[in-house]
Each structure stands twice: as C-alpha cells, then as structure tokens.
Amino acid sequence: MSAAGKSIDERFSARARKLVKRFPLHLIIVLVGLFWMTPSVGLLVSSFRDARDVASSGWWTAFQLPFQFTLENYADVLTQNRMGPSFLNSLIISIPGTIVPILIAGFAAYAFAWMRFRGRDVLFLFVVALLVVPLQMTLIPVLRLLTDMHLAGSFPGIWLAHTAYGLPFAVFLLRNFFGGLPRELLESAYLDGASNMRVFFRLVLPLSVPALASLAIFQFLWVWNDLLVALVILQDPAKTPMTVAITNLVSSFGTQWQLLTSAAFISMMLPLVIFFALQRYFVQGILAGSVKG
C-alpha cells in the first residue's frame, strides 16, 4: 500500500520536475506565438471598430470600457464593395485550382514512381527542374497562350494557369511519397488482379492522405492568396477574386482601414478553417517519408 502511494508520489514529483524544467521553453513558445499573432488580432479587432475609432486610436484601446464594436464594416464590405461576389470568385478559382493539379500530379507521380517506361527519370528531372522557373517570367507567354486559346479572362484559363504553376511541386512531393510506399504492397495488389488505375485509387490514394492533405493546403493557400496571376489573367471585374478586390479597396478608399481589415479578415477565414481542419495531416505530411511508418 505504502509502496504504491510512494510510487504515485514519485511519479507526481517527476512530472512536476519535468514541468519546471520545461517552463522556460514553454514560456518562449507562448511569447513567440503571441508576438506572431499580434498583427492578426489587431486586424480582427480593427475590423469590428467603426471608422472614427480606427482613425483616431490604436486597436488595443478597443478593450477599454465602454466596448464599442460594430458589424457594420462587414455589412458594408460584403454588400457595397463586391466583396461577397469576390469571395465566391475566389472559391470558384481556388477549388478547381487545387483539385485539378493534385489529381493530375497524382497520376503523374504514380507513373514516375511505379510504372516502368523509357526516359522516366529524365522526364521526372525535367518536371522538377521546372520548380526553379520564376513565375514572373512566364506571365506574358502564358497570357499570350491563353489568349490564343480564347481562355484569357475566363475561369478555365486561370484554372489552367494555377494547375501549371502548381504541378512541378505537386508531382515532386507526391512522387517521393508514393515511391516510399512498400513495393510489395503494390505487387500484392497486382497479383490480386488490380489494374494500375485500381491500385492508384484503392491503395495509393488512401495510403497517401497525409501527403495529399498537406499538398492540398499548400496549393489552396497559394491559389487563394494569389494576386499576380489573377491580376494578369482575369481583367473582368465581375470575375476578380478577393485578393484583387482588397487591393482595389486600398486604391479606391484610401485609408478606410475599417473596411480593409474586415475584408482582409474575410479572406483569411477560409484558409484558417482549412488549415485547422487538415493540420493533423499537414504535420504528418511535412514529415512524409522522413520516418519509417
């Protein structure tokens, strides 16, 4: 009895000691976290203050009584400044702009990892080499190409552009992940009678969820936050995504910070939701292949 009691005591004190020992580390992590979050919190707070307050005092003064928060900025931004349709446009651009390249990259990566054909490695090297091509250099040729194809200014045009820009990294990441799957697993499926297509959909994709999820987050964030490609390819104001709409806010409203902050927060919301929903896979995906599963 006493022995058991003692061991519980010992365990408790061991834990306490560990906690104390780690305290400085935790403190630093919390401080860095807070520091990093400050601009976002400022943005969030400002987006709920009215124009006069924003113009006259810093966001941190908003926590003094009486609280004066308002939803008006959001209402204004969404109704008057085309932010609602822009949000929708961003979705229309980002969802196919994420799914299409991942799907194509998935097929390509499977072929690069598991199918034997002449010139496979050279081709893969070529795809990876595309990673170093600066995006800015390609803008004019891509726009010309899309114009020739009568796709400039259209959603399919920008889907194609984002797909092309996203593919090299996606192929690279997925090939390395797929290549790390145990060979015998795939061979076993071939012997069971599975075609390459079956193996891809029934085996490779389900086993690669961490890599796919982290790739999806990367690609979605990249497309969602993209301003440059959208500015160049989508000139039609009815099709502008949020990034373009927000920059327009800056020029057309000068220093209307309350609108700018609420618009910015709306644009941040979805990536945040996606990140938190998939972050478990994201962390696994970053470690993809580093440790034998």
Binding site: Y190, R202, L203
Partner: protein
C-alpha cells in the same frame, strides 16, 4: 494441371545475371522449396514465375500455358510476401476479399471463401481488425488467408516465416505442411533456411550464384549431394570438408589430410583409384564422427586424434569443435562423452560415410 516448368530461364539485371539458365519442373501438388544463400537468385526465380519480373531469356509454363507475357493477375497464382504486404487501411476481411472483389466474384461466394479460409487458419475473430492491430503471427496468417481464398493453381511463398520469432516459426512450419496436404495445391516456397527446406519440402531445389545446383528429395540432397556447395549447404551443422591427398601403401588406400590419415576400406577405394597421388575434397558430416566408447554397430572405423577446442552442449547431443593441426572440424557426439576444452581425444570417422568431391570441378565423385 498446375505443373510449373522453367525452361532455360535467364534473368539479367543490367550486367548482373540473377538467374542463369534455370531448368526446373515442378509437378502438380508438390511442395517445392527453393533454397540458397542470399543473392542466389531464388527470389528472382519466384518473381519471374509470378510475373513481377520479366524473363530475359527462356520460357515459363504454368499448366501447359506459356506465361512469359501473361500479366501477373492472369497467371492463377497467389503470393505470400516476406513482409506480408497487407493493405494497412483495410480490415482483415477486406484484405482477404480484395482479390475476389476485383475478379467480380459473387458476394455470397466471397463471404463463404473468406470464412472458410479464416476457419482453416483460426483467425475468425480477427476479421474485423486492421493489420496494425495484429501480431506478427496473425498477420502472417492473414497473408496466407489472402492467398487461400483465391484458390490459385500455385502458391508462391517468399520467405514467409523469416519475420517470426523462433518458436512461432517452428510451429508455423508444421501448419504450413498441414495446409499443403489439406489444400492439395502446388506450393513453391523460397527460403535461405535449409532447416525449413528439409522439414517442409517434397523436393528441394538448391541454388547458388543464379544457378540451380541440385533438385531432389531432402533425403537425396542430404545423402547424395552433387557438389561441395550442396553438401555444405544442406544439413545443420554443416558437413566438414578437408583437402586431402589420395595415397596408397601396399593394399591400403588412405587419405592424407596432413595432420592425420583416414584409411579407406578396400571396397570403397575403387572410385578413388584415378585420384591416386592427387588431391580432392573429403567431406564428412558431424554425426558420422563418433567417440570411441559410443560407436554405432557396423561402421568402418578410421581413428583420428584431435584437440578439443570448444564444446556446445545441446542436451540430447554435444557439438565438439576439434582441432587437428590447423584444421578445425565439428563432431556431433553422444552427450555422455566426457571431454573438456584443450584435452586431446580420439574420434572415429565412419569411413563408409565419406563424401568426395573433385578439387577443380567441385563435383561429387561418382
């Protein structure tokens, strides 16, 4: 019906020749074990048969069908891998049913076969589990189950026991033999462990450096190895080998090892006549070396003096490592023999159980 035939099969990987002119016929319902050291080409031979690798030259037949260009899934074979290769995201049931579903087998039939296989293997209670929730032995059974439900013409097993602990390995060995008897299907089993080969096989095919060395029943391989490699590989502990010179004094033929001589009984000397004055390899299995007080009846004794180096007591027998000159050899003696390291002792070679191999060709003397 499901006989398997390799005809002059060669496989190159770049410059390396993994399998070199393999000719092997495996009759229906046989349990054939391909055995050899790592890198001898046994696994490659199995993979060629499964269709996971393409042959460079030669032909492979399953039944009477040439399968060189038949894709793996249409060869009517099932394979059990060393790592089991279970689909980690599927339940045991789904793992076993996967192949049948792909072949559009009716649901009722799938259910029947999966339950039947599960019953044979005693894994009925595991059907809903995922592979990660299973022990090594259980995974191994599931891998077997996945092959059984397919009801293939031949089972290919690639070192299926090497990931199991020693005790489970022995147990599974007997179960595999029983399974083979029960299913009555051709089993082709690859291993580097000659004990597995000896205990389970109907016939054994020994390979080395890509070449087939000998095919035969375990007893044939043990008693009549065709060359020094098979002689050394089959049997545990290994056969002792000595380079000897054949000499004759008067009527008596003897083998001169250097530090000792072994006299050959007149009846056995005839085959050595052409080697008089020349060197050859003499082999003797550890169990054919005896202690003087524990001689089995009817042997032709040849006395050898040697120094005891190391003793390994096994309980039912004792392994004594002996030194004669610089040459070390092993004797498997009666456990009642009283010896201690460093001691000089006399042992008796059974001269009728000697094996002889040509020094150059390494082939057994006829």
């Amino acid at each position: 019906m499901s006989e398997v035939r390799f005809e002059h099969v060669t496989k190159h990987f770049g410059e390396t020749i993994a399998v070199d002119d393999l000719n092997l016929e495996i009759p229906d319902k046989e349990f054939l074990v391909l055995v050899g050291p790592s890198g001898c080409g046994k696994t490659t031979a199995l993979r060629l048969l499964s269709g996971l690798e393409d042959v460079t030259e030669g032909s492979i037949y399953i039944g009477n069908r040439l399968v060189n260009h038949v894709p793996p899934k249409d060869r009517d074979i099932a394979m059990v891998f060393q790592s089991y290769a279970l689909y980690p995201h599927m339940s045991v049931y789904d793992n076993m049913a996967f192949g049948l579903r792909l072949r559009k087998t009716p649901k009722v039939e799938i259910d029947r076969r999966v339950w039947e296989a599960a019953r044979i293997l005693g894994i009925e209670k595991l059907l809903k589990r995922k592979p990660r929730q299973l022990s090594g032995g259980q995974r191994q059974r599931v891998a077997l189950g996945r092959a059984i439900v397919r009801e293939p013409a031949a089972f290919l097993l690639d070192e299926p026991l090497s990931n199991l602990d020693a005790k489970l390995r022995v147990q599974t060995r007997t179960e595999l033999s029983k399974l083979h008897q029960r299913l009555g299907t051709t089993f082709i089993y690859v291993t580097h462990d000659q004990v597995e080969a000896m205990t389970m096989a109907t016939r054994i095919a020994v390979m080395n450096l890509g070449k087939l060395q000998q095919v035969g029943t375990p007893q044939e391989l043990y008693n009549k190895p065709v060359n020094d490699f098979v002689a050394g590989f089959i049997g545990s502990p290994s056969m002792n080998m000595f380079e000897v010179r054949v000499a004759q004094e008067g009527d008596e033929t003897h083998l001169d090892v250097g530090s000792f001589r072994v006299s050959i009984p007149p009846g056995k000397a005839a085959r050595l006549i052409s080697y008089l004055g020349k060197e050859l390899i003499m082999g003797i299995r550890p169990e054919n070396i005896h202690a003087p007080n524990f001689l089995p009846p009817g042997i032709t004794a040849a006395k050898v003096r040697a120094k005891v180096d190391v003793i390994e007591m096994m309980g039912n027998e004792v392994f004594v490592y002996l030194l004669s000159g610089k040459k070390q050899f092993l004797a498997r003696l009666d456990p009642r023999v009283q010896v201690s390291p460093g001691q000089e002792m006399e042992v008796i070679f059974n001269a009728t159980s000697l094996h002889f191999f040509d020094l150059d060709t390494k082939k057994a003397l006829p």
